[in-house]
């Protein structure tokens, strides 16, 4: 009977660009409703992006601080567990241990043993209780320290057991106010020391604020300040031994060497635990970043809930829109729109809506972050990662919450849809 061929099928028939245009047009035609619909997504994306960025900013700040100290850094403290950083009697890390490490361990740049003690420090009538640390000149190398004014402790100071002191920036402020401390005399536990330098301000790590510390030559600390607590059985005790490895790659090797030397020197049996603890800066870094990223992800997840709420808002409005446009759907089907044409049309609309909300949310977040930055409390920039996550989620929300209304539209019977008024 027929001359026409059997049904041919073509994949074409939907034009994404055109549908995006139609969706944008519809959005502009109903600005208030569109804005209200997008509000949830705007808030959600803004919260997610802001929190992620702030979290990343905090993480970067902490990382920078720890890395500023130097990632090649290794710290050895007495005792098998991390309990206290200050030396107490009964500990067994000695100056001779430090000397042995310096002599035997390969791939290290410098070793600096320290002796720490709490002390009363005073300049004229200004007094404070703080931590005084006996240091070797190597400490400045290890920590990359540059005095803001004056100089750090030299080998001559150590050899001559000079009574000289270098102040942390905050200690200098507290003792001297605006005065230049260089050349002036302070009293540490009533022993007179000449100030030779003030350190630049350093980042505080947790509860340790090195800006309040005061540094003196190690030999002077034993002789003038330790009053016998620094020596046991002819051995000088140390609070910590700091080591700088040549490279980051060498750290594991250096730690292994240090452990074997100390175990040998402390005459530990193979079944005995270490009586000292080795901490690498790398480990600290890992701990700090894992804590901050957990926090960040947690906060972002909470923010994600508002994104979910935004998605439900989009679904509601789209359902209303499907009902309002039943006739249009009928017309489109009558002239040959297939199921997937209608599905795609409505999906594109919801995605355009939520993606636009996402972009607005990102822009808003940028403004919020700029405001935060201007207060100077924190430096948090819109990270590309946060933008990507925020935008990606807004698109996903559009697809996910558009699917149900779009499917409903696509399932309408052409005759019933056409009859709808």
């Amino acid at each position: 009977m027929g001359t026409r061929k059997t049904i041919k099928r073509r994949g074409a028939g939907i034009n994404i660009g055109q549908n995006v245009w139609i969706a944008l047009d519809a959005m502009m035609a109903n600005k208030l409703r569109s804005a209200l619909t997008m509000l949830g997504v705007i808030i959600g994306v803004c919260a997610v992006v802001s929190l992620l960025s702030v979290g990343r900013g905090a993480e970067a700040a902490i990382t920078e601080q720890i890395e500023g100290v130097g990632t090649n850094l290794i710290t050895i403290i007495p005792g098998g567990q991390v309990t206290s950083v200050t030396a107490t009697s009964g500990h067994n890390l000695t100056l001779a241990d430090a000397e042995a490490i310096e002599a035997e361990v390969r791939h290290i740049v410098a070793v600096a043993p320290e002796f720490r003690l709490s002390a009363q420090v005073a300049f004229e009538d200004n007094g404070m209780d703080t931590l005084v640390i006996g240091e070797m000149p190597e400490y400045a190398v290890i920590r990359n320290l540059e005095p803001a004014i004056g100089r750090f402790i030299s080998q001559d100071d150590v050899d001559g057991r000079e009574r000289v002191a270098v102040l942390g920036s905050q200690a200098a402020d507290e003792l001297f106010g605006g005065l230049n401390p260089i050349g002036r005399t302070i009293r540490i536990n009533n022993v007179r020391f000449e100030v030779i330098g003030v350190l630049a301000e350093q980042g505080a790590v947790g509860m340790f604020n090195p800006n309040t510390y005061i540094y003196v030559p190690l030999s002077t600390a034993y002789r003038k300040l330790a009053s016998g607590r620094g020596v046991t059985g002819g051995e000088y005790l140390v609070s910590t031994i700091m080591i700088r490895a040549e490279t980051q790659e060498a750290i594991d090797d250096v730690i292994a060497q240090v452990e074997s030397i100390l175990r040998r020197r402390h005459r530990l049996d193979p079944d005995e635990d270490d009586d000292f603890t080795v901490i690498s800066q790398q480990e600290l870094l890992g701990m700090a970043t894992s804590i901050t990223s957990t926090m960040t992800v947690f906060l972002a997840a909470i923010a994600g809930v508002s994104l979910l709420v935004g998605g439900i808002g989009i679904m509601n409005i789209t359902l209303v829109s499907v009902t309002e446009r039943t006739k249009e759907i009928g017309i489109r089907k009558a002239v040959g729109a297939q199921r997937w044409h209608i599905l795609a049309q409505f999906l594109i609309e919801t995605v355009v809506l939520s993606a636009t909300g996402g972009l607005i949310g990102i822009a808003l977040s940028g403004a919020i972050l700029a405001a935060i930055n201007s207060t100077g409390a924190l430096s948090a920039d819109l990270s590309p990662e946060a933008i990507l996550i925020g935008f990606g989620f807004s698109v996903l929300v559009g697809v996910f919450f558009g699917l149900y209304p779009a499917n409903r539209a696509a399932s309408l019977h052409p005759i019933e849809a056409l009859r709808y008024e």
Binding site: M1, I7, V335
Partner: protein, 248 residues
């Protein structure tokens, strides 16, 4: 008119379920339409005209019976296949025009071509040509709401024709128009029929409209019956052509 059969329908029935009651809108309708025919479907309100048109237009499927369009059986097709049939083989003109109000008339006429996968440029050209043919070539950028009813129906006709369908179905196309405008639409249909050999089925209550066709199919209670005496001659006898070609 050629001998080629465009529509072959056998014993079409349609039952609507309204809760517990069944409405038999069609009770075994058989019709045959040849290429190039112009046919009127008449009958009292509720006799099943629109139901039949929906099935012939692949907008709906019959409950029983079989329907071939250009030799292909439509009555058992899937939704997707029906959509393709509507798109490629059928032009539908509605009483309420059914244009997208927010789109220009050019975009409205373009719509079937979009779903047919025709390229943008060709779409525009073909749609513009159709609108020119129905006398709206200078209104392409207008919205339907800026046009009169008659003009809107012309747009709908252009849309129905743009895919060069095998058949054009019009369900009371003049029902929403005043007599003068209705007559204009009818003369447009006639012109298209004569100039382009379009196969046309028009549902109408208006004997004057029916009189301009070549054959009348009369429905009553979902069945094809003999038209009542004087159906076409009653209204304006002097204008009616005799001897419109009834099939045997």
């Amino acid at each position: 008119m050629s001998e080629r059969v465009v529509i072959e329908a056998q014993e079409l029935s349609k039952v609507y379920h309204m809760g517990k009651t069944e409405v038999h809108a069609l009770r075994g309708v058989s019709i045959q339409v040849r290429e190039g025919e112009m046919i009127a479907i008449m009958g009292p309100s509720g006799s099943g005209k629109s139901t039949l048109m929906a099935i012939l237009g692949a907008l709906d499927v019959p409950t029983g019976g079989r329907y071939w369009l250009e030799g292909e059986e439509i009555s058992r097709m899937s939704d997707r296949e029906l959509a393709i049939i509507r798109n490629e083989r059928i032009g539908f003109v509605f009483q309420q025009f059914n244009l997208l109000p927010r789109n220009t008339i050019l975009a409205n006429v373009t719509l079937p071509l979009i779903y047919g996968g025709v390229g943008a440029r060709e779409r525009r050209e073909r749609a513009a040509k159709m609108l020119e043919m129905v006398g709206l070539g200078d209104r392409l950028g207008h919205k339907p709401t800026e046009l009169s009813g008659g003009e809107q129906q012309r747009v709908a006709i252009a849309r129905a024709l743009v895919n060069e369908p095998a058949i054009v179905l019009a369900d009371e196309p003049t029902g929403n128009l005043d007599t003068k405008t209705g007559a204009e639409i009818m003369s447009l249909f006639k012109r298209l029929h004569q100039e382009r050999g379009i196969t046309l089925i028009i549902v109408t209550h208006d004997p004057e409209v029916a009189a301009q066709t070549e054959r009348v199919i009369y429905l009553r209670d979902g069945r094809v019956v003999e038209p009542p005496e004087g159906l076409l001659t009653g209204a304006k006898p002097q204008e009616v052509d005799d001897g419109h070609p009834e099939d045997d």
